[in-house]
């Protein structure tokens, strides 16, 4: 299929120092990390059932909207806010919960956040109460001295990757096409993460309205592969 060719870097020999914190971060954001992420489609299942997303091209466009003007951008901001050592975590978590547009979206962020906090606190010996996923991640990143911008960028790629995988199960989407979509979204993950630097709570907004509506409609979807 025709697809925007992902950038091929002409800097193959440039130094690419590996910081041990990056390895920890990629472990946290790997699909193998036991958050149960594979069970959530963020409403995508309803959008597929409703005929709004029917191929890889649709999926990529929907994911662009989610990353740039919906959950992706907001989660990057929640991560950054929670990574501020002076943050009032309980207040931040309450605000993040109030921002969830539907019951299933709240559950998706709540359960993954609780799983992340439980596992991560135990392995790395962190002080991490159950929090919504981006808040928990930001808090853990702060305690590990991670750069919030890198955390946000890798989180967005993981988030998009999980939904691309959901798309593979819901659509007749081949592995190569799926990975091509994720590669095409990488620059957006990076730019959204960078653009949220310095953002405050007043900068949180979403216009990914059809994603929100799809997640509401998913509550009555039958049959269903996903919990959201």
């Amino acid at each position: 299929m025709a697809m925007a060719a992902p950038m091929r870097m002409s800097m193959a020999r440039a130094p690419m120092p590996i910081d041990p914190r990056l390895l920890t971060l990629t472990q946290w954001l790997s699909p193998a990390y036991p958050l149960g992420a594979f069970a959530y489609s963020h409403g995508l299942e309803a959008a597929v059932q409703g005929g709004q997303v029917s191929d890889g091209r649709d999926l990529q466009a929907w994911l662009e909207d989610l990353l740039a003007s919906g959950t992706g951008r907001n989660d990057a901001i929640w991560i950054r806010l929670a990574a501020d050592p002076a943050a009032d975590l309980a207040a931040l978590d309450a605000e993040a919960r109030a921002f969830q547009p539907s019951a299933e979206r709240l559950r998706e962020a709540d359960r993954q956040g609780a799983a992340f906090a439980r596992v991560t606190a135990e392995i790395w010996n962190l002080d991490l109460p159950p929090l919504l996923l981006p808040v928990a991640l930001g808090r853990a990143a702060e305690q590990m001295g991670m750069d919030p911008g890198a955390v946000a960028a890798l989180y967005l790629q993981g988030f998009a990757g999980n939904l691309v995988a959901a798309g593979q199960r819901l659509l007749a989407l081949g592995q190569t096409e799926a990975q091509g979509i994720l590669a095409a979204l990488a620059p957006l993950c990076q730019s959204v993460a960078e653009a949220t630097e310095g953002a405050g709570q007043g900068d949180l907004w979403s216009v990914a309205l059809l994603w929100d509506i799809a997640s509401m409609q998913h509550e009555t979807s039958e049959p269903r592969l996903f919990q959201s």
């Binding site: 709004q52 019951a103 907004w205 216009v207 059809l210 994603w211 509506i213 509401m216």
Partner: protein, 290 residues
């Protein structure tokens, strides 16, 4: 300008047109300022108006013969434009009911300089009920508007809130190619965040609304929040009333949210009216019917 004047039919729009001419003379001065205070309290088992103060371009009318206090808010400036400041301050006492609506759709016109700001705050005491039911906000090409609605509920307070927004008047072929719109609804209960909804559309609204995950080209939207003990019982019925471009969800035991998109204002009303009739128990203000 002449063409625009010729198209204007109603008195309010002519008023607003004159104000645009003023604006070009001195863009730094706020164009219109208005403040409205409303207090409702329970008296002898009925709701009564305990305080009313309207200043500047804001005032309210109070139709009689209702069990709750119904206030029809009127912005006599005829519409919003850059530099305008409107402030609404509402309070509903224990056991009282207050319904707030508008006389007509509120228009946000092209802003020559600065943005219009509309700030509304409401406090609802235990056993009180606020019905915030403004008619549509119509955003014209070039509009610059920042709205904020903060509702503080005490435990046991009830709320029905709707905010319908139209991007241009589609039936007249209007397209909103330049916009600066921020809209924020913050609902707290006992001081804790309960529900927050924030929108921002900057730049070419037509292009952004055309995005498949945003609005799929639809030009009208409504957000609705219902906080009441019977929220869960209402959910199946509301779902059945919604078109394919709408959804409803019970986020908390007594917190129901609903979001709806439509092609234009007519279709939005068609879908919204039966829902509002149901949730308002057939007490939707008469101005919605005109």
């Amino acid at each position: 300008m002449l063409n625009e004047t010729a198209k204007l039919g109603t008195g309010t729009e002519v008023t607003r047109h004159l104000r645009t001419d003023d604006l070009t003379r001195d863009a730094a001065v706020p164009r219109a300022e208005g403040a409205l205070t409303l207090r409702a309290k329970a008296r002898d088992g009925q709701s009564a108006l305990a305080a009313y103060r309207g200043a500047g371009c804001l005032k309210a009318l109070f139709p009689r013969g209702r069990e709750s206090v119904e206030a029809i808010v009127i912005n006599s400036s005829g519409g919003l434009t850059g530099g305008d400041r409107l402030d609404l301050d509402l309070a509903v006492g224990a056991g009282a009911a207050l319904t707030v609506t508008t006389q007509a759709a509120e228009r946000a016109y092209r802003a020559a300089a600065g943005e219009a700001r509309v700030t509304s705050t409401a406090q609802v005491a235990a056993g009180g009920m606020l019905s915030w039911l403004p008619q549509e906000l119509i955003l014209y090409d070039g509009a610059a508007l920042q709205r904020r609605l903060q509702v503080a509920l005490e435990p046991g307070a009830r709320l029905l809130l709707v905010e319908p927004v139209l991007f241009g008047r589609r039936a007249m072929g209007e397209q909103v190619r330049q916009l600066a719109f921020r809209d924020r609804i913050e609902i707290t209960r006992a001081g804790r965040p309960l529900y927050t909804d924030a929108l921002r559309l900057d730049g070419d609204a037509v292009a952004q609304l055309a995005r498949p995950g945003v609005a799929g080209g639809m030009g009208a939207m409504a957000a609705l929040v219902y906080v009441a003990a019977d929220a869960e019982a209402q959910l199946p019925r509301l779902r059945a009333m919604l078109p394919a471009s709408g959804g409803a969800s019970l986020i908390g035991a007594d917190l129901l949210v609903l979001r709806l998109l439509a092609q234009d204002g007519f279709a939005l009303r068609q879908a919204l009216l039966p829902i509002l009739d149901r949730l308002s128990r057939e007490t939707l203000p008469a101005s919605w019917r005109l």
